[in-house]
C-alpha cells in the first residue's frame, strides 16, 4: 500500500522534474565490486561534529579505501525526524545514533547486530544494557557522562565549606545554609541556580536518582516495567526544595544558559546541578575559571552515598540494510576508534570523552569534570542511568515534566504531582 503511493508519487514526479528542472541525481553507488567503500555517519552530538570530521579524515588517511562522510543534526528533537526522512527516502546513513530504548525499538528494522565487534566486547559492564534487542547488542556507547553538583571551588573555600564531605542530605543542607548566610560577602546572588525552564534537569537527571532505584538503574528494565512506585519521592522533594529555595530567582525563568553561562561561569552562584558536558561552555566564557576552580560532587541520595550517576546518552547504530562491505567498514571504524591505540587517544584528547570501554586505565582525562566522572567510573562507584527508559516516551514530556513544573511554580502540591506521575506511567505502560 505504501509502495503504491510512493510509486505513484515518484513516477509523476519524475515526469514533472524532467519538465521543469534539470535534475541532479546522486546515485547510490554500491561499491561491493570495487574495494573502495563509502560510508556515511549522521550523528546527534552537534558540538563534537568538527572533531568527528577530523577523525574521519584521519581514518581515511590510514585506510585509503574507506571514505567517511560525517554530518550532524542536533538540538534534541531534531535528530529523529531527519534520520527518519533519510531512511524513508532511501538516503539512510551507514552509522547513526540512538538515544535509548525507545530509539532502539523505533529503528529496530535498521539495526545491525554489533555483538561481535571488538568495541562491544570491550564495553564497560552495564553500558550496553539499554541497547539490547532480542539478546543482541545493537548499539555502541559514544561515551559515558556523569552529573552531580558542579561547584565553584573558590566560593566554597571562601565560605569555609569542604565540598567532598557533603555526602548526606543533612550535611548538604547545612552547607547551603552556611553559604547562603554569607551571600553578600561571597558576591553571589544565590547558592544554586535551578533552571525551571529546562525540564530535563529535574525530570531526567534528578528524578533518575529517586525513580531509577526501583529498577537498579537499568533503563531497559524500567522501559519494560508495568508499573512504578516512586517510593523515594519524599527525598526528591527535599532536594528540589533545597535547590529552589536557595536558587537565584525566578526559577521558572532560568534555563541552561542562564544557569551555566550567566550565573555559574560568572561566579554568581556557588553550585549547580549539572554534568561534565558543561566544561567546554564554561571554558569559552572563562578559561582560567574552568581549569582551576570547578569541581563536581555526587548528589547525596540515601543509600547511594558517594556514588555518581554515570551513563550513556547516545549510542552508535549500524544500518543493517546497507551492503555487507559498508557494514563491515562501519564496524571496523568504530572498533578502531574505541579500541585501537590511536583511536583511544583521539577519544580522550580530541573528543574529550570519558570512555565507556575497557582498556583506558592509563588515560588521563583532559579536564576537571571528566576526571571526576572517569574516577568514579573506574572505581565502579556509580549509579546507572535509568531515565533513557522514558525520555523517548510520551510520559516524560506530557506527564512527568509538566507536573514537576507545576509543582515548581507553586501551582500544584507535591502529592498530586507524584500521584499524576505514577498514574501516567502505569497507563502508558499498560497500553504498550
Amino acid at each position: 500500500m505504501t509502495m503504491g503511493w510512493k510509486k505513484l508519487g515518484v513516477s509523476v514526479m519524475a515526469g514533472a522534474m524532467a519538465l521543469t528542472l534539470v535534475g541532479c541525481g546522486n546515485s547510490n553507488s554500491s561499491s561491493s565490486s570495487n574495494k573502495k567503500v563509502k560510508i556515511t555517519i549522521l550523528q546527534g552530538k552537534v558540538e563534537s561534529n568538527k572533531q568527528f570530521k577530523q577523525i574521519a579524515a584521519r581514518y581515511h588517511k590510514l585506510h585509503p579505501n574507506v571514505t567517511i562522510t560525517v554530518s550532524s543534526i542536533g538540538g534534541g528533537t531534531d535528530y529523529d525526524p531527519v534520520l527518519k526522512t533519510r531512511i524513508s527516502s532511501g538516503n539512510a546513513p551507514t552509522i547513526f545514533s540512538l538515544a535509548g530504548p525507545a530509539d532502539v525499538k523505533q529503528f529496530a528494522s535498521q539495526e545491525a547486530d554489533l555483538s561481535n565487534t571488538k568495541a562491544a566486547k570491550a564495553a564497560q559492564p552495564g553500558t550496553l544494557d539499554a541497547v539490547k534487542s532480542n539478546g543482541k547488542t545493537v548499539g555502541l556507547p559514544f561515551n559515558v557522562e556523569g552529573y552531580g553538583l558542579v561547584y565553584n571551588k573558590k566560593i566554597f573555600k571562601k565560605a569555609g565549606v569542604d565540598a567532598t564531605k557533603l555526602t548526606t542530605m543533612a550535611k548538604l543542607t547545612a552547607a547551603v545554609k552556611k553559604i547562603d548566610s554569607q551571600k553578600s560577602k561571597l558576591g553571589i546572588k544565590g547558592v544554586f541556580c535551578l533552571p525551571g525552564k529546562e525540564t530535563w534537569i529535574l525530570s531526567d537527571h534528578l528524578a533518575n536518582l529517586y525513580v531509577g532505584q526501583e529498577f537498579g538503574g537499568n533503563a531497559l528494565k524500567m522501559y519494560n516495567s508495568k508499573s512504578m512506585k516512586f517510593t523515594a519521592n519524599k527525598e526528591m522533594k527535599a532536594m528540589i526544595d533545597l535547590q529552589k529555595n536557595y536558587s537565584v530567582g525566578p526559577v521558572m525563568q532560568q534555563d541552561y544558559s542562564s544557569q551555566v553561562n550567566q550565573n555559574f561561569s560568572q561566579g554568581k552562584v556557588a553550585m549547580i546541578q549539572q554534568g561534565d558536558w558543561i566544561y567546554s561552555t564554561v571554558e569559552q566564557i572563562d578559561k582560567k575559571f574552568a581549569k582551576n576552580d570547578m569541581g563536581m560532587i555526587p548528589i547525596p541520595v540515601k543509600g547511594y552515598e558517594n556514588k555518581l550517576p554515570v551513563g550513556t546518552s547516545l549510542y552508535w547504530g549500524v544500518n543493517k540494510n546497507k551492503s555487507t562491505a559498508e557494514q563491515t567498514a562501519a564496524k571496523n571504524f568504530l572498533d578502531w576508534l574505541y579500541t585501537s591505540k590511536e583511536g583511544k587517544k583521539l577519544v580522550v584528547n580530541k573528543l574529550h570523552f570519558v570512555p565507556a570501554y575497557k582498556g583506558y586505565d592509563d588515560a588521563k582525562m583532559p579536564d576537571a569534570l571528566t576526571q571526576v566522572v572517569f574516577k568514579y567510573s573506574q572505581a565502579h562507584k556509580t549509579i546507572g542511568w535509568a531515565f533513557p527508559a522514558y525520555t523517548g516516551t510520551s510520559w516524560d514530556p506530557n506527564t512527568f515534566q509538566p507536573n514537576l513544573q507545576k509543582y515548581l511554580s507553586g501551582k500544584q502540591s507535591w502529592n498530586t504531582t507524584v500521584k499524576n506521575s505514577i498514574k501516567g506511567w502505569n497507563e502508558q505502560q499498560a497500553s504498550k
Binding site: V10, M13, M17, G23, C24, V46, G75, S89, N261, S280
Partner: protein
C-alpha cells in the same frame, strides 16, 4: 500637511523605530562581546575589556561563510525567480479567466497554504528521496510547491487593477498569450513582483527545517551552518550573533535597494 503634524509624525515614527530596532541593537552589540561579556550584561555596550571582534573571524570560518553564502544565494535566487515566474503566470491565468474552474483552482492553492508543513514532511522527503531529488534542485522545486500559493494569492489581488483592455489591445496587435503576458502585463506588475520577491527571499533565506531535511551537507546554507552554534546544551551565542549579523547584511542591502520599487507604482499613465 501642516508642519507641526509632520513633526509629530516624525517623533512618533522615531519612537516606534527605536522599539523595533531594540533587538537588533542587542544582536549587534553582543556580537562584539566575549562570551563572558555577553552574560555579564546583555544590555550594555561592549566594553570593560569584554569587547572583541574575533567573533566575526571565528564565525566566518565556522560557517564556512563564502561557500554557504554561495549556496544560500544560489538557492534563494533561483527559487525566487522560479516562483515569481510561475506564480505570476498562474495568477494571470486565474485572474483573466473568471470561471468556476478558476475559482476552484484558486481555492485549491489557497487551501494548500493551510496545510501544516510538519504533516507532509515525511511523505514528501520520502518521495523526493526515492526520486533522488534530495538536493538543492529538489529544494527549489519544493519551494515552488510551498510558496506558490501565497505568491499567486498576492498577484491575484493586484492583477485586477490592470485593465483588460491592455490585453485586448495587444491581442489585436497580434501578440499571443505569452507575448501579452511577458511584454505587457508582467512589466506592469513590478511593484507586487518586488513585494512577492522580498517576502519569498526572506522566507527562503532564513528557512531552516526544510533545507535541513533536504540538503546534503556539501550544499549547506547559512542557517544550517549556523545551527552548529546551537547544540543541545551549548549555545555559542557570541558566534551565533556574529554569524547572524553577517547573514542579515546581504538581505538588508537587497531590501533597501528593492524598496523604491515598492514605493512607486509603475501603473501611472496606463489609462486615461
Amino acid at each position: 500637511m501642516k508642519k507641526t503634524s509632520r513633526f509629530f509624525l516624525g517623533i512618533l515614527g522615531l519612537l516606534l523605530g527605536i522599539i523595533w530596532l531594540f533587538p537588533f541593537y542587542m544582536i549587534l552589540t553582543n556580537s562584539f562581546k566575549t562570551p563572558k561579556g555577553i552574560f555579564a550584561s546583555v544590555l550594555s555596550l561592549p566594553g570593560n575589556g569584554q569587547a572583541t571582534t574575533t567573533n566575526y573571524n571565528n564565525s566566518f570560518k565556522a560557517l564556512d561563510f563564502i561557500s554557504s553564502l554561495g549556496h544560500s544565494l544560489l538557492i534563494t535566487v533561483v527559487s525566487v525567480l522560479i516562483l515569481v515566474l510561475f506564480s505570476s503566470m498562474a495568477a494571470y491565468a486565474l485572474q483573466r479567466n473568471k470561471s468556476k474552474l478558476s475559482g476552484a483552482l484558486l481555492m485549491l492553492f489557497v487551501s494548500a497554504m493551510l496545510i501544516p508543513f510538519q504533516t507532509v514532511m515525511i511523505p514528501l522527503t520520502a518521495n523526493f528521496g526515492q526520486a533522488h531529488m534530495l538536493n538543492m534542485w529538489g529544494l527549489m522545486f519544493m519551494y515552488l510547491g510551498f510558496d506558490a500559493s501565497l505568491s499567486i494569492f498576492l498577484y491575484q489581488g493586484t492583477m485586477g487593477s490592470i485593465p483588460i483592455a491592455m490585453d485586448e489591445s495587444a491581442e489585436l496587435e497580434g501578440a499571443n498569450r505569452f507575448q501579452i503576458f511577458f511584454k505587457i502585463v508582467f512589466p506592469m506588475l513590478t511593484p507586487i513582483t518586488v513585494t512577492v520577491g522580498i517576502l519569498n527571499i526572506i522566507a527562503i533565506w532564513n528557512d531552516y527545517l526544510l533545507p535541513s531535511l533536504v540538503l546534503p551537507q556539501n550544499q549547506y546554507t547559512i542557517p544550517l551552518q549556523m545551527f552548529f552554534f546551537f547544540g543541545q546544551y551549548t549555545k555559542q551565542w557570541h558566534l551565533a550573533l556574529a554569524g547572524l549579523t553577517l547573514s542579515i547584511i546581504p538581505v538588508i542591502i537587497f531590501y533597501i535597494f528593492a524598496q523604491r520599487y515598492i514605493i512607486k507604482g509603475v501603473t501611472d499613465g496606463a489609462v486615461k
